[in-house]
């Protein structure tokens, strides 16, 4: 790092000639790249991933999103997708109605952990149990970010939040709900995955999960669920640069990344841990060799 600092600064204001573009500024479905999220917030990374997935599957024109209530709700102003604003926690029920009335559309919800797991736990559980052909996307950061960073039902033991300053204590606050694991057990859930945005490899993998979920919905496969761990440095009271590592070592240890249920098979937490360790090695090797782009 300090070695690089001694080196000259290159011009990054104009696109080079004799080069091919391998990454766009913003997804086509986002009207502007500007947004109101805090520095270092993980939510815009998920926004990019699912908007790109919708474009790549060429279903954006018939997609309808149902927004919960949280910081991410402000994306409703800049996303070029038809949207319905739900009351706190009720997005999966509205999604059910929309999908049943318009079975040809691709219906997804965008909710935070406070919205989905606290305010509206029964909505998502019943929607999954009924096997509704919709996709629920959960942005999980373990705090109510929008209202100041207090504890939610997914806050992990020991995690410091505004109303668990000494860390979440099982004896006093109870245990976290691992919503992905819970939903995977329901017969009606066809696909349950948990992504994360703590590094580039994880973001790429999360996008694949979102794409797979939309594909399953498109093909009439039933209820799909993608949870993504996102940084909330503001709510966690930590420097932005420490967000990814903090998240991976606290939330990521409990809410373990991976495809929890796919093709009718449920994976154990141990299995997921093992897979992750292997993948991380592969990704590091590929990054060192020069790119994530070949990722299929």
């Amino acid at each position: 790092m300090s070695a690089a600092k001694q080196l000259p600064v290159l011009d990054t204001s104009v696109a080079p000639s004799a080069a091919r573009k391998v990454g766009d500024l913003k997804p086509d479905l986002l009207l502007t790249q500007e947004h109101n999220m805090c520095p270092g917030c993980g939510e815009p990374l998920v926004l990019r991933s699912f908007l790109e997935a919708l474009s790549e599957l060429d279903v954006a024109q018939r997609s309808i999103g149902i927004l919960g209530v949280g910081c991410y709700t402000s994306f409703g102003m800049t996303m070029d997708v038809d949207l319905v604003q739900a009351l706190h926690g009720r997005a999966p029920s509205i999604a059910t109605g929309v999908k049943r009335m318009r079975p040809d559309s691709i219906v997804f919800t965008l909710q935070g952990d406070g919205d989905m797991v606290n305010e509206g736990l029964q909505e998502v559980l019943h929607t999954a149990a009924r096997g509704e052909n919709v996709t629920c996307i959960l942005l999980n950061n373990g705090v109510f970010g929008e209202t100041g960073g207090h504890m939610t039902a997914t806050t992990v033991l020991g995690q410091r939040t505004k109303n668990s300053l000494e860390g979440r204590d099982a004896a006093y606050h109870g245990y976290p709900i691992l919503i992905g694991d819970l939903l995977a057990r329901l017969e009606g859930a066809a696909y349950v995955a948990r992504g994360s945005v703590h590094n580039a490899g994880a973001v790429a993998r999360t996008k694949k999960m979102l794409k797979r979920a939309f594909e399953i919905q498109r093909d009439g496969g039933g209820f799909t669920f993608v949870e993504v761990l996102t940084m909330c440095p503001t709510g966690w009271f930590i420097p932005t640069g420490e967000g990814p590592d903090y998240m991976h070592s606290t939330l990521g240890e409990v809410h373990v990344m991976g495809e929890l249920k796919a093709d009718g098979r449920i994976k154990s937490t141990e299995e997921l841990h093992e897979e992750n360790a292997k993948r991380q090695q592969e990704i590091e090797a590929r990054l060192a060799a020069g790119g994530l782009e070949e990722d299929s």
Binding site: L10, L25, G290, L292
Partner: protein
């Protein structure tokens, strides 16, 4: 004080990026995400929003890790058809 050139070398860049400085919120996520560590934050300069922003040094591979992790959509990533070489002169200051 006078300066003398001690050595010359070249650094190969297989790719490059553009940075939209004015939307950057200075979170530094791109700095640690960059595998060859060729991004660094400005120490003094700030953008329109008042944040320090990243600068690119030679050696980019065009891997797009910075783009994947930037919450504020500041990057475009390119790969050169032919790698670009930057000549580096290591300068030593010699006191008279």
């Amino acid at each position: 004080m006078t300066t003398t050139i001690k050595s010359r070398g070249t650094i190969k860049s297989r790719g490059t990026i553009t940075i939209d400085l004015d939307t950057c919120k200075g979170c530094e996520l791109c700095i640690t995400a960059c595998p060859p560590r060729v991004l660094s934050m400005t120490e003094h300069a700030v953008n329109r929003l008042g944040y320090h922003y990243p600068e690119l040094h030679p050696g980019c591979t065009g891997c797009a890790a910075c783009l994947f992790v930037c919450p504020d959509f500041c990057f475009e990533v390119f790969r050169y058809d032919e790698p670009v070489l930057t000549v580096i002169e290591t300068v030593a200051e010699v006191a008279q």
